[in-house]
Amino acid sequence: MTEAARRAAERAARDSYGRLLAFLAARTRDVAGAEDALADAFASALASWPEQGVPANPDAWLLTVARRRQTDALRRRATSKAGEARIQLMTEELEAAGASPEAIPDRRLALMFACAHPEIEAGMRAPLILQTILGLTAIDIAAAFLIPPAAMGQRLVRAKARIKDAAIPFAIPEREELAERLDAVLDAIYAAYAKGWTEIGDTAAERLADEAIWLGKLVVSLLPDEPEAKGMLALMLYAEARRGARRDGTGAYVPLERQDIDLWDEARILAAETLLREANQGGPTGRYQIEAAIQSAHVARLVTGRPNWDAVVALYDVLLGLTQSPVALLNRAAALVEIDGAEAALASLDAIANDKRMADYQPYWAARGHLCARAGRKDEAHEALTLAIGLATDEAVRHYLIGQRAKLQDG
């Protein structure tokens, strides 16, 4: 089997996995129990399909086996009349679903809302979605998130217990609540993407970026009218389009404005532009659409030969108004230097210069170093670049900054 075919097969299995798990867990709210039942079903399939052949409808087959396991487990625990009635209802529903598997309702979106519920610790939402919707193991998730596997395993178990104990509903929120709750789902998926984007040359991380894009497409397909979902998917596609251009042939870091546009993936950029256009039909409504629009202004270089800096700064102004994020301020300064010069850009950083969070925020010192260098403030540039080097976790970035610092002495 080719790599592509193997991946396609994995995707199909995964599509079933998430669907079935969401369906099984939705009624009981017992995610761990549903996982166990489904794991049993997949194990039975591995044992019997090679001999008896793959059933005409694999999903229905898996659901039937998982259902039996799940109802057995419930019976063992529930003895009350109410429990019996619930089991009866559930069995009927599962049987109906087994009879016509096209009718298995897709509850993955409801499951994602449960995973990204305010009751769940923000940092665990992405790992939980990766595990429940995609069936990723705790070990794989731990590797991608750079957390010790045992700690990740424990946190996942705790998060699932939280869903049950806090009686978190498996439901798509009502209109008035939807935007805010959807933001949490999108933030979780984007956090997974961001992890997969930063670690370069690491297969676990690259796979994670792929998975996040897949999840983004899933959300867009399940909520086609939500502009922010499209905005986030567009943002991921813009970034992914430039993945190959971030390092040169020797593995050295290449900043965005020096990237070779021939290495950008135009098909992905076009897909992103289309999504962004669709999302913005009613005017941009959220941070992902604005961030995607900033990316769009950057890739304008494909057509005009230079990024549209005025648009970039204007969009960061909007984003700042929306998020008050120091990261947005930092990125705005990096664009402002191209229009108003280095001193103006440095002055714009005054607002966060004493922010404690900047003390060990590597991009702050790297940006400050570059701006000071362009302003001819050599000593300050040297100091900031030294901190940026010390705080760098990526070898290529560290080397690039060491090169930049060395240039201060030469020029």
Binding site: L146, I147, L387, R398
Partner: protein
């Protein structure tokens, strides 16, 4: 949470490391550690394990032996302290440490004294 970050060097990998570059990176790393705030303290470098001395006093008898303490390829080479919210940030600091390329950085939470 406070962590002791323990550096274990692979002597062979260290010997092959570009020394000037490594110590320049270390200077920057220590600068970042010192600026990061209270609870952080810059690295201390230890002499090689074979130059250490091992003392054991048990059963009324004191033994003094030459190092190294552990006969392993990677040897304890230094340490630094950090104070961060959790393991995620500790892992980040470990990967910033130039030594992580030439061995391993062990992250050990410091047990807080509980009031009695």
């Amino acid at each position: 949470m406070r962590y002791m970050m323990i550096i274990h060097h692979d002597a062979e990998a260290m010997a092959k490391a570009p020394q000037r570059e490594l110590w320049a990176e270390y200077a920057a790393f220590n600068e970042a550690l010192n600026k990061a705030g209270e609870g952080f303290s810059g690295g201390q470098r230890l002499s090689p394990g074979k130059e250490g001395t091992i003392v054991r006093a048990s059963g009324g008898k004191t033994d003094v032996l030459d190092g190294p303490y552990a006969d392993t390829r990677e040897q304890l080479a230094g340490y630094f302290f950090i104070d961060v919210p959790g393991i995620e940030q500790a892992v980040e600091w470990a990967s910033r440490c130039p030594s992580s390329k030439y061995g391993a950085v062990e992250i050990r939470p410091i047990v807080e004294q509980t009031a009695r």
